[in-house]
């Protein structure tokens, strides 16, 4: 009795399997030809919606959803958005990507963070799905892949730009660097900063690191910078460790010029943070939530109403991603019934030629290798708000 039941179940499942195959291939052929094509472009992305990096993933998912809503409301190009969780893990990201592919994703927002995006970009490259990542800044994401593009700066770009900026503005000659050794983002910026510094007359007098799990006590790193007489401390890292560095430097009475990169953005939104600690911090960032720009102000207001937080640079990048897509798809005359591969070719042609004005930069252009050109803005924190330096 039991055996027959098992057999029966197995047969049912087999039928189900084949039926599944049959129907999906049938609908696949029907899509390309029939008039009842889906009316919206299926756009998908992966990001850490849970886990330690969730702040970046949720920011991107929220902002992308906001942008999609606005664009859909205008009529014209329609999007259907789906964000899958990758928990900032390469393996989970590939699974999430496969889920999106099964869903029928036509264009991709890549992954939010670098490590997972390196993994998913290999997949999108192989499957000929165009991907534009908001914030995965590692070079490995776009390197050697013709259909992978970034809205954010690549890491090397930030390192050399920072060195250049420090030298141009004569902020200091003796510089200390504190960086996170197990993070591609931090290391990428550090490497190019160190390569560019000597040629610009910057002397790196203190070079100290920290790692995940060892990122609460910075007394040694700060003391080393102080003992070696660094006038400026360069911090290629996210703002959470930076906030601890500021507090611990103050404790030993050390007040150099602090210089951060885009990861420093968001420090003022830290709940309960004593903003006087960040007074005078200089950072290079493409986006500032306090900008006077009307579009930025509208975005910040809407985002804050919907999600309760002030959007960070990740959110702004994702917002720009969706709008850049809308512009490119419109210009290319793409329609939602096209296959992912057809759209991919159109997008490559568009992104390498078009100019896009977004909230993270005016006149953004892309080169064929997928990297973006836009100007980083120097900002300084004064009286608890960002003030433009240039």
């Amino acid at each position: 009795m039991k055996k027959t039941l098992c057999l029966l179940l197995a047969v049912v499942m087999m039928i189900g399997l084949f039926a599944g195959c049959g129907s999906s291939s049938a609908s696949g052929t029907a899509d390309s030809g029939s008039a009842a094509a889906p009316a919206a472009f299926k756009i998908g992305g992966t990001g850490p919606l849970t886990g330690g990096a969730a702040i970046y993933g949720t920011a991107c998912a929220n902002a992308a959803a906001l942008a999609v809503e606005e664009i859909n409301a205008e009529g014209g190009i329609q999007f259907e958005l789906k964000y899958e969780d990758d928990a900032h893990d390469a393996e989970k990201a590939v699974n999430a990507y496969n889920a999106l592919k099964d869903w029928g994703m036509q264009i991709s927002l890549g992954s939010v963070t670098s490590t997972p995006c390196v993994a998913t970009s290999a997949e999108t490259f192989a499957d000929r799905i165009f991907a534009l990542t908001p914030s995965a800044s590692s070079v490995a994401v776009v390197e050697g892949k013709d259909n992978q593009f970034q809205v954010c700066f690549t890491d090397p770009n930030q390192g050399s730009a920072s060195a250049q900026y420090i030298a141009d503005k004569k902020l200091a000659t003796k510089v200390a660097v504190i960086w996170k050794a197990d993070d591609v983002y931090s290391k990428g910026i550090y490497d190019t900063f160190m390569a560019a510094a000597p040629g610009l007359g910057l002397e790196v007098v203190s070079d100290t690191q920290f790692m995940d799990g060892n990122d609460t006590d910075f007394s040694v790193q700060v003391a080393d910078a102080q003992a070696n007489g660094a006038e400026l401390v360069f911090l290629p890292m996210y703002y959470t460790p930076a906030s601890l560095i500021f507090a611990q430097a103050k404790q030993i009475g050390y007040s150099p010029v602090w210089f951060g990169v885009d990861g420093m953005d968001g420090i003022l939104t830290l709940e309960g943070f004593d903003t006087s600690l960040a007074e005078g911090v200089i950072l290079l960032t493409p986006f500032s939530a306090d900008s006077e720009d009307a579009r930025t102000a509208a975005f910040v207001k809407k985002y804050q109403e919907r999600f309760g937080d002030i959007p960070n640079q990740f959110a702004a990048d994702a917002y720009d991603c969706v709008y850049a897509y809308a512009q490119a798809l419109k210009a290319a005359g793409a329609t939602p019934d096209m296959s992912a591969e057809q759209i991919c070719d159109l997008m490559i042609a568009q992104f390498t030629t078009m100019t896009y004005d977004g909230i993270t930069g005016e006149g953004m252009t892309w080169s064929a290798d997928g990297t973006v050109t836009k100007d980083p803005k120097g900002m300084v924190i004064q009286n608890g708000t960002y003030v433009g330096l240039d």
Binding site: T208, N214, D217, S219, A227
Partner: protein
């Protein structure tokens, strides 16, 4: 002078490890299980204190007491739901459950309080007449040497807890029952000791200590995120093993040594390799003395 400063930083870091290690060692010593969720109870305690202080404007002392009370309840609930049904199960099953509870707490915190970091208020500063900024450390030799109030408080609290626990387990009836359970659960039960209640009380005490540890941890390193407790938790576990797990003074010694070694390794060897150095020292200690610095050598009878 910089050497002295490093030693002080080491002690301040170590005293935090020590206070967390006390909770680990207490639960291990009596229930003979590694409560890997301890680090996350610390995080919950810190969040409760944070919200009590910033959102409900309770005075610091009340906030800390509230955090302790709620963490005690949380600890007992966890014990009742997750560990008690497994009392007869193999040790490994309980260990895996503890890891599960740890992830559960982390993700629940993520849902409840999001991953946006919160900056913990500094309870240990005093405003000085005439000075614009609050003072939060003792300074010596014209400011060349500073010891923050948090460090002093942490060490004092550590000592008080250590003494209290030693007296409690040595002198009181409940303490004796705990020691009996730790030696032989079956025999203790035969002697009329309620093993379940005893273990529940152990968890209650351990979780109450976790709340204090959470407040002190976040006072010293004020960034509060749902994963705040996990790494210090693991380091403190290491410290407890270092000092001899199950030994209350051992937890204090292990914690302080771990902190000092970590800072000195950072200062004089490499900032990148400090954890490797710390764990290398741990391995050497365990090779020479497998039960830890102050652990009791238990001879198994065959």
């Amino acid at each position: 002078m910089s050497f002295l400063n490093f030693i002080i930083s080491g002690i301040s870091l170590g005293s935090i490890y020590a206070i967390i290690a006390l909770g680990y060692t207490m639960v291990y010593g009596i229930a003979k299980m590694l409560n890997f969720a301890h680090g996350d109870v610390i995080m919950v305690g810190a969040y409760i204190c944070f919200f009590a202080f910033t959102k409900f404007n309770l005075p610091p002392v009340v906030s800390v007491l509230l955090a302790m009370a709620l963490c005690t309840v949380l600890g007992m609930t966890i014990e009742k739901l997750a560990y008690k049904p497994l009392r007869q199960a193999p040790k490994l099953a309980v260990l895996i459950t503890a890891i599960g509870v740890s992830y559960f707490l982390q993700n629940a915190a993520l849902l409840l309080w999001t991953s946006n970091p919160k900056v913990f208020p500094n309870f240990f500063s005093r405003s000085q007449a005439g000075a614009a900024e609050a003072v939060n450390s003792f300074s010596f030799f014209g400011g060349q040497l500073r010891i923050s109030y948090v460090t002093v408080v942490t060490i004092l609290v550590c000592l008080v807890i250590m003494l209290a626990l030693t007296i409690f387990t040595g002198r009181t009836k409940m303490g004796k029952a705990m020691r009996a359970c730790s030696e032989d659960k079956g025999a203790a039960e035969l002697m009329g000791i309620n093993v379940d209640t005893t273990i529940s009380v152990t968890f209650a005490i351990g979780s109450g200590l976790a709340a204090i540890a959470g407040v002190l941890l976040c006072s010293a390193y004020p960034t509060l995120v749902p994963t705040t407790g996990s790494m210090p938790g693991i380091k403190a576990f290491t410290a407890a093993v270092f000092g001899g797990i199950g030994s209350i003074p051992g937890a204090l010694l292990g914690g302080l040594m771990l902190g000092v070694i970590e800072i000195l390794a950072k200062a004089y060897i490499s900032t990148q390799m400090s954890d490797a150095v710390v764990f290398a020292v741990l391995i050497i200690v365990l090779l020479v003395k497998p039960s830890g610095l102050l652990g009791k050598q238990i001879h198994e009878k065959v």
